[in-house]
Amino acid sequence: MGEFFRRIQYLLNRRRLDRELENDMEFHREMAAREGRNNFGNTLRMREQAREAWGWTWLDRLGQDLRYTARTLARSPGFTVTAVLVLAIGIGVNVAAFSLFNMVALQPLPVRDPNSLVRLERRSPQDYTSEMPYLSAIFYRDHAKSLSAVMAVLGVPPMQVDDDIQPTSTSFVTPNYFIELGTSAANGRLFDPTREDSPTAPPVAVISYALWQHRFAGDPSILGRTIRLNKKPATIIGITPYAFASLGGQRPDIWLPIAQQPYFIGGSNVLNDPSNSSVRMWGRLAPGVTKQMAAGELLTLTNELRHQHPKDIWDNEFIDIHPGGHLQVMQAEMYQVAALIAMLTLLILAVACANLGGLLLARAVTREREIGIRVAVGAGRFRIFRQLCTESLVLASLGALTGMALSYVVLRVALVRFDSPGWLSPVPDWRVILFAMGMAVIAAIFFGFAPALHIARQRQRKTIVRQILIGLQIAASCVLLIVSSLLVRATQHVLFTNPGFAYQQLVSIDPQLGRYGYTPASAQAYLSQMQDRLRALPEVKSVALVKLPPLGHSVSRMDTEIAGRPVAIYPNWVEPGFFQTMSIPILLGRTFYPGEKRVVIVSESLARKQWPGQNPIGQLLGDGPNQDTVIGVAGDARVNAMSDDDAVEQYWPAQLDDMPDMVLMLRATGEPSGLPPMAKSISERLDPRLFPEIRQMKLLYRDNVQQQVEQIAATVSMIGLIAILVAAVGILGLVSFSVSQRMKEIAIRMALGAKKFDVLTAVLRQFLWPVAIGMIAGAGVAAAASKVLRRILFGVSNLDPASYAAALVVLVAIIALAGLLPARRALRLDLAKTLHNE
């Protein structure tokens, strides 16, 4: 270590030490001269050699290289600005994507000890649910020694505050929630486990900062005031801070103690029902406990739970533990999406790098003289190569800096627009800065290495590298354009076609009977009365019951294999009239009879996959003793997986036990917007305790599906467009460069009588092959890679010929424009002048 510090000292004091060294040598020379020896060597060179012992020569060289680079770049500001901008786009897009990923999945939540927070979910090889029964959560809390705390969150439909028309989002939480997160109130107090853990405690509510500001105008006297939530009085005791970081990114406006849930939702038995998976569970690992240790203990506890409630625990069930101290708890599927986005943004960087590489090579031809002179005065190839690499690194660093600034601006705007949590900040943290630095180095290697090698060996006139770079650019932009074109098609598809059922006139009514303590029998009675009264309305065409409505709060999925290929089956439990109400055609067989059991209706695609070329009616489905007979085939309808064209459906007749979970679907005769108030008043007369969630499919579809897919398509199209523009600028530059290099040749050809067309071909021919090969390669890559997109393409094939054709036509048009514009200059040459000049 001592040596290291001495070296640092030599670095810091090197001026003084160099003078001392000079003095030493001066003295030596004087003494030698006294003795008649005058052949002391070159002091300057000797001093340099001596200084090498300090180990900082590389720094001096770097300084030289940097100064030289600064001068070179400053001398050609046009090139520098173009290069930095191209890189800023290429790197900036990646930095922005990474920053987003960083905010969502890497940055720890600003809460107490975020690293020990874990999300706990039920999983078995066949089943998965993100929620668990409250009783189980309590059981784990009371018995798990590896967890120092357990928090449970019960999400409920938005509640009505006083007489508001717009309901307000609400969650029930265990009273340790805020204490465990180390949150203190902006005003008043938050929940206290000693006071709010009893169902008989006075009902209280904590409200969000936003609700306080917007609904209560920031009034400080709100504390202690009583509000009515779904008509039940509760006292406001506190306000969460503005930048409150909650678990899992859930941000309700009203927080209520979970123990008081039966008070707010009269008759509810959710907290005591071991079969009702309804709460999200979080925990804190005890100090020194690893995930594996906790998983082991929880497995033992799960097995104990199975003894208590044999029906409610799955075979081989275990508790899945994920790190919980981030905005988003990442699941395997989300990593797939992240990888997809990363691939797209890296393509942009590839386009930018290939582009800049071409520019550098072109520039090298004009720098031939300069480099020739440097070689002539003794610079080695390695020294030239190093100098060129330094230039690339400087450009890349400038690009990365500008890119970070760009990404910051874009993210700032986006965060405000999408109403993100107050604690999220787009300011780059160390991860983002490190990432940007890494990107700069990678970019410098990609765009600078090959040209530098080429130039250092003085082979800059060879065109093959330039052609490869063009091919790369074209291929990468081709992939991006095809992907964006596929997504645009998907958007159109969503806008103008049905997801297998006509949703425009549908209204769903979810009375949540299970939550209000309805038994199967009373639920059936309620639902049949409700159906009768709704059917009596002239505005209602038909009514049916379904367990998992479209765009509902929960989705069920069974992943199986048919003939060795993975298939996602979406099960549902419906009433006989469901197909008619949803306008899903029965293609073969019939619908259910009332009260029928052990029968099943499958979707067309499932029938085709399961029994290709056979009659599906009468076949048996399921394993072991629980086999059901297929009685009908329905049209494909993506009720629960709108975006996934590969999904298949399977319907069972709803049984009495399903009744507390059933949702009513209404089809209106005309415009459905008048139905919700009527349905609400009917429900209020039937049971005033209930607050059914009434939703118009048309609006729901627009908000959840169309907007989402439009945003995705718009973003990707923008990325694709940026890529193609960058590529076009690159081609424009290269063609105009090659024209200016070949002025003389062209002029001679024209003087000798060459036709305009021949001249154009001569200029553009060298670009023809790279463009063609690049397009073919790009289309091939897109076709192979877009398989992963199928799930979000809403039924558009990932090989949709129209999308490919559109993308390629746009690409060809832009490239032709970028090539022809500068090439035209060759035709307008003033022959006499050009030839005279040369």
């Binding site: 040596e3 003295f27 030596h28 003494m31 000797m46």
Partner: protein, 116 residues
């Protein structure tokens, strides 16, 4: 390479490999400036070894960085301000290990030359 020729005497040898060892040895008794180190080695070796400036100063710099010697300001015999190098405890330790290594190597070479 700079090699000093002296007329009528055999060509002096540059002790490149063992220079560190020699410098440490001559500094063991007293601190010296650069020129004196070269002179002392030259004289003590019966004018067989000549240390060139081009090798001496880089070696001294290396030894400074390694911490085997330090430099202090002193006054030369010609009344000039000059840096004098003196050995450090680290340098003495290094000298000892170098010496024992050197002994072993020369013994080994002698054995080979004698018996082979």
């Amino acid at each position: 390479m700079l090699i000093t020729h002296t007329i009528n005497t055999p060509k002096p040898v540059t002790p490149s490999g063992a220079l560190v060892l020699l410098i440490l040895r001559v500094l063991q008794s007293s601190s010296l400036h650069g020129y004196a180190i070269a002179q002392r080695i030259h004289i003590l070796s019966n004018e067989v070894l000549a240390v060139e400036e081009g090798l001496l100063y880089p070696t001294l710099q290396k030894m400074l960085v390694k911490g085997w010697v330090t430099a202090e300001w002193g006054i030369s015999e010609t009344n000039r301000k000059v840096r004098c190098y003196c050995i450090t405890p680290d340098g003495r330790r290094h000298l000892e290990t170098e010496l024992s290594d050197y002994d072993r190597v020369t013994q080994g070479i002698q054995e080979v030359l004698r018996t082979a």
